[in-house]
């Protein structure tokens, strides 16, 4: 980097020397080369203009003060306008070739061929050239107005207005402006395979997240460990969801904004852009309907998490999903834990029925709905997934029986009552028996020891 800059500076000085010499040498020629003063004799007139291609006037005015104050203020006009060697000069002068000094200044997407494209002056201005402008969005807006409009309303754009110095500007994501690449170019920082790393420069920094109250402090790390992150980073899949697949790109909104792609109400449709088949099933389910009605019900991320989405085959996720169901279905989780199924999963093993094995993962309906896997019409087939010999009678086993509930489960209630009475009764009676016996037995032992000691004393 340093060496490159040094080489660049050498080239720059060399070129500068040639130009300066070029400015001196022609003084020996017959016709004197016009100085900047000569040029300004005409071009200091604010009214000076010519008619452009669309019959629009193009101003030919040069503000001497601002030019001389610019970084190029030391140059003579002819050093850039190389064909203006006599006064009056030809009506149409050649375009200024910045590359003469600024070698390879523009490459990539902004290096538009055919002269129609981006000139240096489009961003840097012409005569009043200063250091690169700070507010990129103002510059970029000249060409990318619709995108910048969207950006300005995004979480980043809004933060920028509030004076947030850490906020992502155009070039923070799109890379160096002079070497800017198209999104589909594998070298672009916003190419799908590169995007997570680009977002991660900020969204993998817990300190930055803390500073700006971003709720997920390590989104990048979580994402890279997720099924999406692995598909992208390890398998190199362009179709794997990256940051922008869910959050959008220029118009990223915070999740509590109803227009946000990751707002709770919009999460199913956002995930459904890829997981279309699941969305159809979920939307019909008791959860999907409840969410649409504005009731509290899980959306995709409640079970699958937002960033650290794991393979559903893995035991840790499967066990977590049970607890997740239990955050709303508290009673069902409690009664589930009374059964063999629930106890085995509590021990950390998954080779037994979990919530979704009986209720399905997405097509969840009340048992009264004939579409439900636990409906009377389907329950035997559901049990048979694990218990091939299951019959209708077998399926009468209640996997969520609550033996405390006298109304719904009287048989279980009275069984439990009897068993508890037996336990408490037996243990109380014998507990009392033991408590009474203990001091007596202790006395007996002491008495016996004394008797034996007495025996030994009397030979």
């Amino acid at each position: 980097m340093k060496a490159k800059r040094w080489r660049g500076s050498c080239g720059y000085l060399l070129t500068l020397a040639v130009i300066l010499l070029g400015g001196v040498l022609p003084t020996f020629a017959a016709e004197p080369i016009p100085t900047s003063e000569d040029c300004l004799a005409c071009h200091s007139d604010p009214e000076l203009s010519k008619t452009g291609p669309g019959r629009l006037p193009i101003s030919l005015f040069v503000d001497q003060a601002s030019f001389q104050g610019s970084v190029h203020g030391f140059l003579e006009c002819v050093q850039c306008h190389v064909d203006a060697t006599e006064i009056p000069h030809p009506e149409a002068l050649k375009k200024v070739q910045c590359q003469t000094c600024h070698e390879n200044a523009i490459s990539g997407a902004h290096d538009l061929q055919g002269g129609k494209g981006l000139t240096c002056s489009a961003c840097h201005g012409s005569h009043a050239m200063g250091p690169p402008p700070q507010v990129e969005s103002v510059i970029c807006k000249k060409c990318h107005a619709p995108v910048v409009e969207v950006y300005n309303k995004s979480v980043h754009g809004m933060a920028l207005v509030k004076g947030n110095g850490d906020v992502a500007l155009c070039l923070n994501c799109h890379g160096s402006v002079h070497e800017l690449r198209k999104v589909r170019d594998p070298g672009s920082p916003v190419y799908p395979l590169n995007l997570p790393r680009t977002c991660g420069t900020c969204h993998g920094d817990p300190e930055l997240a803390k500073r700006h109250g971003i709720p997920v402090t390590n989104a990048y790390q979580l994402y890279m460990d997720s099924i999406h992150g692995r598909a992208l980073a390890r398998s190199g899949l362009l179709v794997a969801a990256n940051c922008s697949s869910c959050h959008g790109f220029h118009g990223i909104r915070p999740k509590d904004d109803p227009a946000s792609k990751v707002n709770r109400m919009n999460v199913p449709s956002t995930c459904g852009t890829c997981h279309a088949g699941i969305l159809v099933v979920y939307a019909e389910s008791v959860h999907g309907k409840a969410v649409r009605n504005g009731d509290a019900a899980p959306v995709c991320i409640d079970c699958h998490s937002a960033h650290q989405i794991r393979r559903v085959e893995g035991a840790p996720w499967q066990l977590q999903a049970i607890r997740e169901c239990g955050t709303c279905h508290e009673e069902s989780l409690k009664t589930y834990r009374d059964t063999f199924h629930g106890k085995v999963t509590a021990l950390g093993f998954t080779r037994v029925a979990k919530c979704s094995d009986c209720h399905t993962a997405h097509a969840i309906f009340p048992s009264s709905d004939p579409r439900a896997a636990v409906s009377p019409a389907k329950i035997v087939a559901t049990c048979q997934q694990c218990h091939p010999q299951a019959t209708a009678s077998f399926a009468e086993f209640h996997p969520h029986a609550d033996y405390h509930n006298k109304e719904r489960f009287p048989k279980l209630y009275y069984t439990y009552l009897f068993m508890t009475a037996l336990l408490v009764g037996t243990m109380s009676l014998f507990g009392l028996h033991t408590v009474l016996w203990f001091p007596r037995s202790l006395l007996e032992r002491i008495r016996r020891r004394r008797a034996r000691a007495g025996e030994e004393l009397e030979p």
Binding site: F340, L347, T391, M419, L423, M427, R440
Partner: protein, 272 residues
Amino acid sequence: MSGSERYYFRFNLYHRILHGMVIFSFLGLALTGLPLKYAETGWGRWLSHVLGGPFTTGYLHRFFAVITFLYFGLHLGYVARLVLKGQRGIFWGPDSMVPQPRDFVQLAQHVRYFLGLGPRPRFGRWAYWEKFDYWAVFWGVSIIGASGLLLWFPAFFARFLPGWIFNVAIIIHSDEALLAVAFIFTVHFFNTHLRPEKFPLDAVIFTGRVEEEEFQREHPAEYERLRVEGRLEAHRADPPPLWLRNFARVVGFSALAIGIILIGLIIGTALG
């Protein structure tokens, strides 16, 4: 130990082997069953994982259940053999396990003795709490065994039983097992081994032999009966050899330790 002590047989080898099977299978069932019942506790999870997870403990649990059914069958066979030999005394009388009016009288007398209101009753071959232990095992094996079989072969039993029976079986199996464990590891341990007169271990179930003085003290009526009937000498035993006494200590203290640890964990969970 002076060589002058006299020993009498209280348990024959068959009794001792069967009780050995009871100890082995009962501790095995408790160790492999409790982790499932207490699946949501730290120690339950730990024990389950140490023993190979719920499917391995489930397999072991069934293995110990088979031993339970085996000793239950062997005992019924033993009873049947005695009946066929014409020993009606097993159903009534001083040799019988069947509760008799004398047992209730002795229970009352024993409580009065606890309170210092009377002398210690003169127990026969089987004191009332020993009979209770016996019937508790009889009842426990039947109830836990039957409910366990239901849960072992649900598809088979569902052919002729309604499905809710398995819900009932879960409650019965679990709660009756808790009662069995709680009773054996506290009441039985105290009555037999841990009460100050016996502390820390009564080895008679392992050696089969009871020392004369203890025999007279613990079962005076039985001692008297054998003496009067002139059968005392027929029960005379050699002193238990050292290897047998060591065997009794190792097995006995191990069983006591396992039981006390388990009941400690159960009580700790119930309190905490």
